[in-house]
Subunit: 343 residues, 2 copies
DNA sequence: TTGAAAGCGCTAACAA
DNA sequence: TTGTTAGCGCTTTCAA
């Protein structure tokens, strides 16, 4: 099983009887190679089954690799983003790699750093908790596009949903159905406090504002939970054990699935407690789930993020902020508010 | 915005007044460095905000990167595998990167190749259609663990579920409920024909065998579909428009969700058509979905795959095949077969 | 159009 | 314990 060393550019050059530089030009489709030389080199590449080492290329320039950092791979919304990103990369020389982080904070920074250490040619990240300063510094070294951050940065781009509009759609829908006692289930304070104005922070702030403006300030109630469906289930269960709201506006669909679970376990129906999510993940439209949710075109976001990255690699330097239009998908999980028992 | 060049090991050495080799030793925690030297070097690293370039390290040895290739990122079962893999990597120096492929065939090979070109220290892949020969060749260059392949290879390891047992659990469950007209909805012939004995091929073969042995050979009916929930929905719809089975055994949960959708759209209830999936993705246990499914411990598979990879990196060469025990999760989507109308 | 040669940042002998 | 040095496999001037 004596494994022959994999062929290098040197081997190809020798086999073809040309210089390394010539081979390099051929594999990069560079100028200044005669058809004859191209042919000989390609033949040698074929014979030796040669593949350029990316690491060696990276040392001299680009790695032909784009990295995307994802907190919590389990969220189906992120899968949409990846699908869009992959599509945008079709036909280019770039390979997409995903660095999973499994949490918003420290881990996200670690994963982004790992991508940077690998000298990817560009980074897409979903990391609401990283400081803008840290990102600005990073972005001076490598093109960066942040997803879901509403900050206007100097040196990186952003792709966001319009969370102000999305929340408006949700709240007006619930108000029209007659709901007043609307609870907002969202992530930890650490998340919603983040200076960057991340999606959860904005949804929370707008929830408060709408409740206030509608004259339901006394019904404002914010409940905190973690990042997973299971934590949402548990916190919803606890919530329902106390006073019963007529509707729950949940920070995203993944959490909303946990809320729906809890509502069912509690023996309640959508007629008694309405639930609204955010993201419109695929399962939300399943007839058995039928979750009202805000669609924000994850594929488009992923695709746009990649395009912005490629533009920056091409040399653009002015920061760009792209926002996708949200739309409300009304489904069975929201019903008219039950009429209040007359006191 | 004149961006200073990022610090190299050379800069650190100069700052600390030592040699590059000394710095190298410190950052690798190698033997033979005095506490004093370690301290000075670490101080310099801090000051310069130095981070070693992985590409340069890669050229001399390892990349401290493990790659996992995934067809179709949207499948929640893969998310479990990633979770297990990430967990197994905690506390090690390795970074996990995911190469998304979005299809089983060509694209999978491309993605695995991209990981190899990046000289990852090990590769985990889910790629039922690649030829064993190709994998054997790959595996002589880099440690490889294949998920879901039942072939016994010389130079790579495998981690599988016991699909024979899993299918037995499904079929016996359905038989006990009185089902005879059981349709099997599975992937394309290309997939189930694959020489490697991939999960779908085995489930199909065992479905046939069980039907035969139970004396229901005349009820054997295999319907083909694609890789996505949507294609399963469409093909189930077509299926239901023809003769009505009492049960549908679907190749995996993601497809089964499409089948459930189609059944609902067709106005049928679980009492009329039972549905069984495979993988036991999280949503399967949701009360509104309640999909009977075979659990095969995705986290354990991901974790084990990484462990096997790390063992190989440590030097193991004997091939290892690891199999996880499946268990049937019986839920509301399977009910006793409706009694046949007396002719 | 082609080739020679320098160098990217690191690790690993080997010497001191 | 510390430093010197020779590469790893590419790309990229710069000459020829």
């Amino acid at each position: 099983m004596a494994q022959a060393r994999a062929a290098t550019i040197e081997d190809v050059a020798r086999e073809a009887g040309v210089s390394r530089a010539a081979v390099s030009k051929v594999i990069r489709n560079a100028y200044g190679v005669s058809p004859a030389m191209r042919e000989r080199v390609n033949a040698a590449i074929e014979v030796l089954d040669y593949r350029p080492r990316i690491a060696a290329r990276t040392m001299r320039g680009s790695s032909f690799t784009l990295g995307i950092e994802l907190p919590h791979i389990g969220n189906p919304f992120f899968a949409k983003i990846i699908a869009g990103a992959t599509a945008a990369l079709q036909g280019t020389d770039y390979q997409l790699i995903i660095a999973p982080a499994d949490t918003d904070g420290e881990e996200g920074v670690r994963a982004i750093g790992a991508l940077a250490d690998r000298q990817v040619d560009g980074i897409v990240a979903i990391s609401p908790l990283v400081s803008p300063e840290w990102l600005e510094r990073l972005a001076t070294r490598v093109p960066v596009v942040m997803l879901g951050r509403h900050d206007h940065a100097h040196s990186y781009d952003t792709v966001t949903g319009d969370d102000v509009e999305g929340t408006r759609l949700v709240m007006e829908h619930l108000f029209e159905l007659g709901h007043r006692r609307i609870v907002h289930l969202t992530r930890s304070e650490e998340v919603t406090r983040a200076s960057s104005g991340n999606p959860h922070a904005i949804r929370l702030a707008r929830y408060r504002a709408h409740m206030q403006e509608a004259g339901f300030a006394r019904h404002i109630r914010v409940v905190r939970t973690g990042m997973t469906e299971e934590s949402a289930r548990l916190d919803t269960l606890a919530l329902l054990d106390q006073e019963l709201p007529t509707a729950i506006f949940v920070g995203n669909d993944e959490l909303a699935l946990g809320t729906l679970r809890a509502v069912a376990e509690h023996g309640l129906s959508p007629a008694e407690v309405s639930v609204v999510g955010y993201d419109d993940i695929d399962i939300a439209s399943h007839p058995a789930i039928s979750l009202t949710s805000v669609n924000q075109a994850g594929e488009a976001m992923g695709e746009r993020a990649i395009r912005l990255l490629l533009e920056r690699i091409q040399g653009r330097t002015e920061p760009t902020n792209f926002s996708v239009e949200p739309s409300l998908k009304v489904r069975g999980s929201t019903r008219p508010a039950p009429t209040e028992p007359t006191p």
